[in-house]
């Protein structure tokens, strides 16, 4: 072999290494261990290249009414990294439109990861769990993230963002401080009732939910999850993180021990909300020790 040809082969090998697709693991989600800082809110971190990618297949929710009758996002690519204390998931899916603020007939983009509460391997129904065998859900919602982004940038609220050219003569609650307190209760009853969907814009865009079947989702007492989504060129890439030891509120994950997760994705442009969603079955999750 000539020296020139050997150099060519070497260059080809380097090139192949650079352009190699990340390893895929179609059987399970293998969370890569890292001793360094985790990319909690960084979907673009290079660290993700080290974690194998699991393509989780999604199906329309067609078990309970109201169902999804037309399919939406059919696959979500999942990677995970952990440091022995936290695990961060990276979800990537195609979505042609970025839907941030829900209005009539249109919802916001969202994604969720579901865990069985019990860690004994006897998993409940993958469709929101079942009575006595609950699940915990980490629910990322684009509107909550957008609220925080707008607040940090000093931009307007949801209404100003939706209808920038709207002219409003007067709101009665602007009459004074006392009126504002009283009238906001009357005119924003969900907020006055401390409904958890009306989270303040400074909060995390990921909420921890508890469910024991369809229709009884509630917010967990302790909120420990975090994450961030990025929409670029028709694609959402979103991180969702949780502590491994979530206790009674979130359940525990142990390195080296097999657990399970399931996923759901909502497409706002298709008015996906609630049970109108694309969902997966349980997928094995293993947190690598090294």
């Amino acid at each position: 072999m000539s020296r020139r040809f050997a150099l060519f082969l070497f260059a080809l090998a380097i090139l192949a290494g650079c352009t190699r697709q990340p390893a895929q693991d179609p059987e399970q989600i293998a969370a890569k261990f890292t001793a360094g800082p985790l990319p909690f809110e960084d979907p673009a971190s290079k660290l993700w290249q080290q974690a194998p990618e699991h393509p989780a297949r999604l199906l329309p929710q067609n078990l309970t009414e109201p169902m999804l009758t037309e399919p939406g996002v059919d696959i979500v690519k999942v990677r995970a990294v952990h440091n022995g204390e936290w695990v961060v998931f990276r979800l990537e899916w195609n979505d042609a439109t970025q839907d941030l603020i829900p209005v009539t007939g249109r919802s916001c983009d969202a994604a969720a990861i579901q865990f069985p509460l019990a860690s004994d391997g006897d998993v409940p129904d993958a469709a929101m769990g079942e009575k006595g065998k609950g699940v915990r859900i980490l629910y990322w919602k684009a509107v909550w993230q957008d609220d925080a982004t707008r607040a940090q940038a000093g931009r307007g609220d949801r209404i100003a963002s939706l209808y920038p050219n709207a002219a409003i003569d007067h709101y009665p609650y602007e009459a004074g401080a006392a009126a504002r307190v009283e009238m906001e209760k009357r005119y924003a009853p969900a907020r006055a009732a401390a409904n958890p969907v009306t989270v303040p814009p400074s909060g995390t865009p990921v909420q921890v939910l508890i469910a024991e079947g369809f229709g009884n989702t509630r917010v967990a007492p302790a909120q420990t999850a975090r994450g961030r989504g990025q929409w670029v060129d028709g694609r959402w890439v979103t991180t969702i993180a949780r502590p491994l030891r979530g206790g009674a509120d979130l359940g525990n994950l142990e390195p080296g021990r097999r657990s399970y997760v399931a996923f759901a994705v909502w497409d706002g442009a298709r008015a996906h909300t609630g049970s109108r969603k694309m969902r997966s079955e349980w997928t094995p999750l293993i947190l690598r020790n090294q």
Binding site: N62, T64, E65, P66, M67, L68, T69, I101, P102, V103, T104, G105, R106, S107, V143, D157, R158, I159, L162, A166, I168, Y171, P172, Y173, M183, E184, R186, Y187, A188, P189, A190, R191, A192, A193, A194, N195, V197, T198, F214, G215, N216, T217, A271, T273, G274, S275, R276
Partner: protein, 375 residues
């Protein structure tokens, strides 16, 4: 799905939940013939409940012109088109309700809505049906017609919003039958927004939850009629309680108008919700349109209304409309007066059935001028 009895369509039907009528059911009668579409009711409601951020487009009470007006846009036309043949055999509805025309995987036959549907609250306002040709406006009876339709939530016996909510965030109050959304539980799925065939549930983008008319229940609890009733300058409305026909009371004003005299009719009974706001139909509109909108009893109701002036009980009841801010559970006719009574049969208000009529000579002899009626 359960089987329930809906007296407005004269038969049982399927519904998501079993029959569970409240102890008392909010009921109301609107006399369409008196409405001038001043929108005072709309503003009374707006300033009371929906002047907040995210509620700009909400009109829990609205008044639209029929046949062309609609808010939200085409709320009734869309569903009438999708519901299929709406046929009646006598007083029994032989078509399908929205609970019986279910698309696969759905709880009700809903109507897709979008935010622009609320952008034209005055569409079709004052537009007449038919053309004014060859002096048509000067001849009687006039062929052209329109009328004003004031609308609030109907606080239905079988609410589609309630049936559609997968979280059971909507409930019907046992004490008064008012349908409300639990604002601490709603997660803004908008199923109710699509499900209500009357378009009376709204999504608030500011809070991310859905909201609707609450029939001013804080007032109802004090025995006072809602804001849109007491502010109606045309006195077209009365609020009380309605019983099912097998438990009707002749001294209950709503029962009397709806069940006994059948002069007040539900709006689109064929949808199947058993709505509890009843309308005295307009007297100048073709029967075919009225039957489509108020069911087969509309022509007889129009006839009864035409004769109401000569009927002391009916004339007295209409005189009680707008005569008191109190809810009127009972009434009685005493001589030439109509009397509204509270739950304990105590007198709330007494009004003359017929106002005295004074006919003045056309010429004023004192001032030597002709009188006119233009004040």
């Amino acid at each position: 799905m359960a089987r329930v009895y809906n007296w407005q369509i004269g038969r049982s039907m399927t519904y998501w939940y079993s029959e569970n009528r409240p102890k008392r059911q909010f009921g109301a009668v609107f006399d369409i013939n008196k409405c001038i579409e001043c929108q005072t009711c709309t503003l009374a409601c707006k300033t009371t409940w929906t002047s907040g951020r995210g509620q700009e487009f909400m009109l829990w009470n609205n008044v639209e012109t029929k046949p062309y007006g609609s808010y939200p846009l085409a709320w009734d036309m869309q569903l009438l088109n999708r519901l299929g043949p709406q046929t009646w055999k006598g007083s029994q509805y032989t078509g399908r309700t929205i609970f019986e025309s279910l698309p696969p995987g759905q709880r009700v036959l809903g109507t897709p809505r979008q935010d622009t549907d609320y952008a034209y609250p005055n569409v079709g306002e004052d537009e007449i049906y038919g053309e004014v040709v060859k002096g048509g406006s000067l001849s009687l009876p006039q062929q052209m017609w329109m009328f004003y339709l004031a609308r609030i939530c109907n606080h239905c016996t079988y609410p589609a919003c309630l049936a559609s909510c997968p979280r059971s965030s909507i409930y019907k109050r046992q004490e008064d039958g008012i349908v409300v959304i639990d604002q601490s539980r709603c997660r803004g799925y908008q199923e109710c927004v699509k499900a209500c065939p009357y378009g009376k549930v709204y999504f608030n983008p500011s809070t991310g939850t859905s909201e609707k008319c609450i029939a001013c229940y804080p007032k109802i609890e004090q025995g006072i009629q809602p804001q849109c009733f007491v502010n109606c300058i045309g006195k077209i409305r009365v609020q009380g309680w309605i019983n099912p026909p097998d438990r009707l009371r002749e001294d209950n004003p709503i029962d009397y108008l709806v069940h006994v005299r059948k002069i007040a009719l539900p709006l689109y009974p064929q949808f199947g919700l058993e709505p509890n706001v009843y309308y005295v139909p307009p007297i100048h509109v073709p029967d075919s349109f009225l039957i489509q909108m108020f069911g087969p009893g509309a022509p007889a109701a129009v006839q009864a209304y035409r004769n109401a002036r000569h009927d002391k009980a009916l004339a007295g009841l209409f005189a009680l409309f707008g005569s008191t801010e109190h809810t009127i559970p009972y009434f009685k006719i005493v001589g030439d007066s109509a009397v509204a009574l509270d739950d304990f049969r105590r007198e709330l208000v007494r009004v003359p059935i017929y106002e005295p009529v004074h006919v003045r000579p056309e010429r004023d002899r004192l001032y030597q001028v002709m009188r006119s009626n233009t004040t």
